[in-house]
């Protein structure tokens, strides 16, 4: 016992040490991003790129980004597709994952194989475009939600989670005379908060970072989400094309400010998600 305690303490301090090191290794560069965004650009250049503590601070870069014509629209679009899109995702995914988690469901293997198949094979950009066009989604916000409504990856994760729920729940529900739908809504769903939160996070981050579908299916620049605008700002400076004479290159400070302002809203979601991980343990106690 005593020996185990020693080892445990050692292990624990090792863990703390590692985690602190890890956090520092992340914080140091992130701090750099923040510092650059707040430093006058001439100062950035003078320091050869690396700034530890800025000598002067300016909010200019943030002001420029937020007063950009496209930004209010872009935030709105991104917000809508994130919330509505994630809802659609979760409903459809759960409705697929739950039946597929039942080993007794006839045809289950074939459905699963068909779904895994889509993770690896796709028809390419142009035929997908034709389908999106045929279903009337072109140039609407739906085009950024529907064509990726279920991720096979997230579906499999959720299915694996449901499989781990004890069979006894199911049987208990049946004895109570509950149908499949009622079992799902009243018994299974409340127990699946950790997985719903996790998958919901995955989906919403995906929507928040929506880029590809936007540029493919939306041509109206007023319906572009945040990431497309951000990419416009970032890619010019990395572009190999010759710059136009009159073009003012976005400064590094502006780029960093843009990154921060586009990432922060979705980053703050995480602590709320975490809460559910601890609730997951409660679920476990029901199981036991």
């Amino acid at each position: 016992m005593v020996k185990t305690g020693m080892v445990d303490r050692l292990v624990l301090s090792f863990i703390y040490g590692t985690l602190i090191l890890l956090s520092l290794s992340v914080l140091f560069p992130i701090f750099y991003v923040v510092a650059v965004s707040l430093t006058p650009f001439e100062e950035v250049l003078r320091n050869g790129g690396f700034i530890v503590v800025p000598r002067a601070i300016t909010w200019e870069a943030y002001r420029i980004f937020l007063t950009n014509d496209r930004i209010p629209d872009a935030y709105q679009v991104t917000f809508i597709i994130t919330v509505a899109g994630t809802l659609i995702n979760l409903v459809l995914t759960a409705l697929l994952a739950y039946p597929l988690s039942k080993p007794r469901l006839p045809g289950r293997k074939i459905f699963l194989l068909l779904i895994v198949f889509t993770m690896l094979f796709n028809g390419g950009i142009i035929p997908t475009y034709l389908i999106v066009k045929a279903t009337g989604l072109l140039n609407t916000l739906w085009a950024m939600m529907i064509p990726n409504a279920v991720s096979a990856f997230n579906l499999l994760i959720m299915k694996t989670f449901y499989e781990n729920l004890p069979e006894s729940l199911d049987e208990a529900a049946k004895i109570d005379g509950a149908g499949e739908v009622r079992t799902l809504v009243q018994i299974v769903l409340p127990l699946s908060m950790p997985i719903m939160a996790t998958i919901g996070l995955f989906y919403s981050v995906g929507h928040w970072n929506e880029f590809f579908q936007a540029i493919m299916y939306v041509s109206d620049t007023a319906k572009f989400p945040l990431q497309v605008v951000l990419r416009g700002i970032l890619s010019r400076s990395q572009s190999v094309e010759e710059l136009s004479l009159e073009e003012t290159m976005p400064t590094e400070s502006l780029q960093m400010a843009a990154v921060i302002l586009t990432a922060v809203p979705i980053i703050v979601v995480y602590p709320f998600i975490q809460k559910h991980f601890t609730q997951g343990v409660l679920l476990g106690s029901i199981k036991g």
Partner: protein, 302 residues
């Protein structure tokens, strides 16, 4: 037959639930799949997918790829970078999730978690900017230190010796915290009763990790491993495209960067599609094989 129908009818509610999701897969995933035929055609935009003439011979575009003097090095680079990223993408994520689970201090835990997942939101362009700030031979911080203390510099970004490590390292840095999320969610599903039982048996932390935590998330690990194997030939286009340069082509040029450059230059949809198909077939074979192996361990994904 009759029996099968009865069994199916019994579960009609479950099938009904699946209907919207299945409709989605059929329309948006299977619907466009006919497009893969352009890999066997000389695709002409004006004539469309169906109207374009068949390639002669049918494997013409595959041959084109195969005959590139760079074929073997592309394949090797793709495989190697992918393999490194697989190992360094999964193990540390699992380790981080376990460590986070082990510590008791809530506030600390929450901070570490939130911090570690921040870099996921930085684009590769920004990450490259930071890599330059540290590693650049002419302006980087590390090289300035090296120069001051040891009197030499290292061309990290232009050296074939370091470049793959930089790719893998930055990938790890960027997505470590993010990849831990899924394992953490899985661990939170493991029954505390098991931990209690292990404690009663006098098991220490390490034993509990080995005998309770890891088996508890085994199915998730296997699932992720199998799915990642399917994408062995995707070594991370965005990252490499932004970070590489001509000095490191011999170690960093992958299938996707090659297709991108070639496709861009020649507008060759058919070849891009052929290469895509090639990657998919290998990926699918790997998934099936891996699933079969996993079955031997009593795990599989369907």
């Amino acid at each position: 037959m009759g029996k099968a129908w009865t069994a199916a009818w019994k579960h009609r509610a479950l099938y009904l639930m699946m209907l919207p999701g299945l409709a989605y897969f059929v329309t948006y995933k299977y619907g466009p799949m006919y497009g893969a035929i352009i890999a066997f055609k000389d695709y002409n935009v004006a004539q469309g997918m169906m109207g374009s003439a068949w390639a002669d011979p049918w494997y013409k575009h595959f041959l084109y790829f195969y005959r590139s003097p760079y074929f073997s090095s592309l394949l090797w680079n793709t495989f190697l970078i992918s393999l490194y990223k697989l190992v360094w993408g999964m193990l540390p994520g699992i380790a981080l999730a376990i460590m986070l689970f082990e510590i008791g201090n809530r506030t600390f835990k929450r901070w570490v978690q939130t911090i570690s997942y921040l870099p996921h939101f930085l684009s590769w362009v920004i990450v490259y900017g930071m890599v330059m700030a540290f590693l650049s031979e002419s302006t980087g911080l590390i090289n300035m230190w090296l120069q001051e203390w040891f009197g030499f510099k290292i061309g990290f970004l232009t050296s074939t010796d370091y470049f793959r490590s930089i790719l893998v390292g930055t990938d790890l840095w960027k997505d470590l915290g993010w990849s831990a999320i899924i394992y953490l969610a899985a661990i939170s599903g493991v029954s505390p009763a098991l931990f209690e039982a292990a404690t009663v048996d006098g098991a220490g932390r390490l034993r509990k990790i080995w005998h309770v935590t890891l088996p508890g998330i085994r199915n998730v690990i296997v699932l992720l491993l199998i799915l990642r194997l399917g994408h062995m030939l995707d070594a991370g286009f965005d990252q490499i495209y932004i970070m590489y340069n001509i000095h490191v082509y011999p170690v960093a040029d992958i299938i996707d960067t090659w297709v991108f450059r070639t496709g861009l230059e020649q507008f060759n949809f058919s070849m891009a599609s052929a290469v895509g198909l090639f990657k998919s077939i290998i990926g699918f074979a790997l998934v099936l094989a891996a699933n079969r192996v996993a079955k031997l361990w009593g795990e599989n994904i369907w």
